[in-house]
Symmetry: C2
Subunit: 261 residues, 2 copies
């Protein structure tokens, strides 16, 4: 378990950089913005950036680096995208070649880094708002499903909409939808509420990623766009080098999540 003395994002990133924290970040430092990470060559970055712009619920943009620059300037100082994420995945020409805890040796002069919002962002506000989340310390991630809907393609970047699911009592659904809509860096409002079959999901008990959920008769499933889509799609570009975070091992920003508007 995590050292109780780690109280700030900067301290957590320092632990990660030093190799002392290599586990998932889901559930850590509630209320702090966490981010999905993607890095790919500048030659492919236009298509991916355009994909993000066209699919703001799937890939809400928090930060995009200049080509080759792994340093992100934060309030508390600089973070290094090559070392400050606990685990990465590295593809070469579309083939997964490594899942290291540091990608300094894989970094290249033309890689563009993307930090994209993730749904951990609105879990803190939901809990604070008194909306119960069925999560546990062992399994903090939500179940994730492929759907029969398509994202809006950009050049060669195209693929199915992927969703995460959380269920709530019927009388909370409207309030949960409204609250999450206020967090655009957490995928925003749900993309679907209710019958999973309308998304082409046959059985909620068998997610494509993440843990099988406990199902509650009296609750309504709610679905949010999920940042997994890029990880599924980008290897198909067969970029010389592609780097992402490993599932659940997010980049932890300095700032706390605040609602828009």
């Amino acid at each position: 378990m995590m050292n109780d003395s780690i109280a700030t994002p900067a301290e957590l990133r320092a632990e990660i950089r030093a190799g002392r924290w290599t586990g998932p970040t889901a559930g850590l430092l509630p209320g702090v913005q966490q981010a999905n990470f993607v890095a790919l060559p500048k030659a492919d970055a236009f298509e991916f950036l355009l994909f993000c712009v066209r699919n703001p619920k799937v890939c809400p943009i928090i930060h995009v680096t200049e080509p080759g620059d792994p340093v992100v300037s934060l309030e508390s100082g600089n973070a290094d995208l090559r070392s400050d994420i606990a685990q990465y995945r590295v593809w070469k020409d579309g083939e997964l070649v490594a899942e290291p805890h540091d990608v300094t040796e894989y970094w290249e002069d033309d890689l563009v880094g993307f930090l994209l919002g993730c749904s951990h962002t609105f879990e803190g506000p939901l809990i604070e708002g008194g909306f119960p989340l069925h999560v546990s310390a062992e399994s903090p991630a939500p179940p994730v499903y492929l759907t029969n809907r398509e994202t809006v393609s950009a050049g060669r970047v195209s693929g199915p909409l992927v969703v995460s699911m959380r269920s709530f009592p019927a009388d909370m659904v409207d309030a949960v939808a409204a609250l999450t809509a206020r967090f655009p860096t957490g995928h925003g409002a749900p993309v679907h509420i209710g019958d999973p079959a309308e998304l082409g999901i046959e059985d909620l008990r068998t997610p494509d990623f993440g843990p099988a959920p406990d199902l509650y008769e009296a609750e309504v499933p709610m679905f949010w766009a999920c940042g997994v889509t890029p990880q599924l799609v980008l290897p198909q570009l067969r970029s010389r080098t592609l780097i992402t975070h490993a599932a659940g091992h997010m980049f932890v920003c300095d700032h706390r999540v605040t609602p828009a508007g």
Copy 2:
């Protein structure tokens, strides 16, 4: 003056395409979204798209085309970015070479077209809201000024923040700011209210672009980010081909402007 029979954006674009309407679009079809236009080679498009993402008040993105594709699919049918704008400016290697009414002959297979929000977008709602605008049929454009603030650069795309100015009675300032904040495709909330000197503007009577304004002792000047910055900055990239709309000659979308949120 405009033919009174033109009642829809599609009809206006058809008149423009046929060469029968070659004038500015400012003030036409109030309430309809109008857009700034930029087209540049894919090799330069990442930097410019990133500039737009980093400066959403300066360059609010409405649409970005696939490289080489000049067609925009709208509710009423297809529009053609090569012919459906009344006047263009064309640069070759950074030199202005033409200001034609049609750019079909200049279009190339790798040009990416950008449609970006413009401040005409919130003038309709301001007028409807009972906030007086000092505009005339002869001079519908606002005065525009260079400032001492910088936009957030992206690669080689950098330059000063440019602002448009409109003045209002002091008791309306808060309401005008709040109303425009609800229109992100119209540059959103003002970037500055009050003393022009804080933006480095020495004399409101001598704008850098647009007509000299009438000044009213009892009114407060309000400043909004302006989409002129890209036109100032992009020729410096010396792209093989760069195309923009000519000032005041906007792309007219199908949809009416609606507030966000």
